[in-house]
Symmetry: C2
Subunit: 284 residues, 2 copies
């Protein structure tokens, strides 16, 4: 039986650090605030929003919601976004993407003020991840992987880390964060030959494929630490599943994050920590 | 004996493509132009400059030189840089870095107009490399590695590529370019454990360590393609050497780039190709 690397204690430790910054800010009469931009009412957006708002309340971060109908004009949307960009009382901005197709995603990502891009989606934020400099924030899910490793005292330094997936949301940024943490990083993807063999040689395996239960025990070894970033609804099992076929892999590895209750339960805490950090930076 | 992947034919093919664009531009009455900014007169800068200027002449690109004394004021330097940024007749800007210490490198890199950053040093250019989008240009040396592979019909798709080195000038960007070309990429560095073994398993080995003759045959295998990015002056041998101990490695691999005459002889052609591409983009 593998050790379960649960997300909840990680999230709680992050929240505790955030609360300390919130107290610091309170002494200066400042309340960190997150602006949430949502167009329409997709289930997944609503669910993430509920989690984020609850976490904000727990930590003491104010939430300002900008909710728009599906048919909102670009003009109106960007007017409000600019408002939030220029509002000194708003410290972080989260936009649920993708927006309806008429919105250009690149324009949108880069329209969020640099210091307020707490979800790490602008080109400048990504350049910061790539160049290992403090230009913005890392994408929250990628950062969550690092937070879990840190919390459980798993130092990636000198370890062979294999990342399955090369998306801009998770695979590429988490690869860079791990490289910056001195891991030897291999990135695998759909064009990789013999992924099982490469993965099975890893000390740490990051599964960020986005395909349900695709990682079986052939990808693993008994000393391996497996971080499962995937989350999909399994119609047959009627429950959330990750990229990992959990019942097959668990007995064969040293540690593994569960789904649900692993990486996914850390992301909103990371988001909120970015808001309080952005707030602190804004006054320094 | 390994096949030598010489840079000269690669450079010539790139120059030929550049000349075609120069002709296209000439029909519209436009001459692509490169502005070179140099402070002081370091030997390595002068040598690269001579090569670049010669190549510009061969291809039909105009060169404008901005030469400053070591003690130039920041004000004067940036005034001239802005002049070049705003000059519609200048299409690419190369600044020899590092400048004297009083200049902030980050400020400098990001002060070059986005479309004119032909050396790929700004954060936006690097973000383009990271996100695989056309935001700027890749750093010339990293791009040269790709040009050599392409020229010799070595498709990195599905190949295991090991990159030794994680610098922002070469290791990281070349890793991203190779990942974008569908290679399975492993990045090794000073904290990597058992680099020889990892390197020896590679189909393609990119040596970008910057340490003379550090890569011996223990890092290689007989089917391997070795690209040597390093270039150092060997006092004992009284000649330029790469990261690879050539006489040890050559007999044990399939293909290898020589030093000199390999990657280094392609970079100025890539630079000039960026200038003519920037020129073409500027009128479209």
């Amino acid at each position: 039986m593998a050790e379960l690397l649960k997300g909840k204690p990680v999230a709680e430790a992050i929240n505790q650090r955030s609360r300390e910054i919130v107290s610091e800010m309170a002494e200066k009469g400042i309340t960190p605030a997150l602006a949430i931009f949502r167009v329409g009412a997709k289930d997944s957006d609503l669910s993430y929003e509920r989690g984020a708002v609850k976490r904000c309340e727990e930590v003491g971060v104010r939430v300002v919601r900008y909710i728009f109908d599906e048919d909102v004009s670009e003009e109106e949307f960007y007017e409000k976004l600019d408002e939030a960009n220029n509002d000194d009382d708003i410290h972080g901005i989260l936009v649920f993407r993708p927006l309806p197709k008429r919105f250009d995603d690149e324009k949108l990502r880069n329209s969020i003020a640099a210091g307020k891009d707490v979800d790490g989606c602008s080109d400048l934020s990504l350049a910061g991840v790539f160049t290992n400099r403090d230009l913005g924030f890392a994408p929250c899910t990628a950062q969550s992987v690092i937070e879990i490793l840190n919390h459980y005292h798993i130092d990636p330094k000198g370890k062979n880390v294999v990342v399955l997936g090369r998306s801009l949301v998770i695979g590429k940024p988490v690869s860079m964060l791990l490289l910056n943490a001195n891991a030897t990083v291999t990135v695998c993807h759909t064009k990789t030959v013999d992924t099982e063999k490469i993965a099975a040689a890893a000390d740490i395996l990051i599964c960020a494929v986005g395909k349900m239960e695709i990682v079986n025990k052939e990808f693993t070894n008994p000393d391996q630490i497996v971080i499962d970033v995937g989350v999909s609804w399994n119609e047959v099992k009627q429950k959330l599943c990750g990229d990992v076929l959990f019942e097959d892999v668990e007995a064969n590895v040293k540690c593994i994050t569960p789904v649900p209750g692993g990486v996914g339960s850390v992301t909103t805490s990371v988001l909120i920590s970015h808001v309080v950090q952005a707030c602190k930076k804004s006054i320094s």
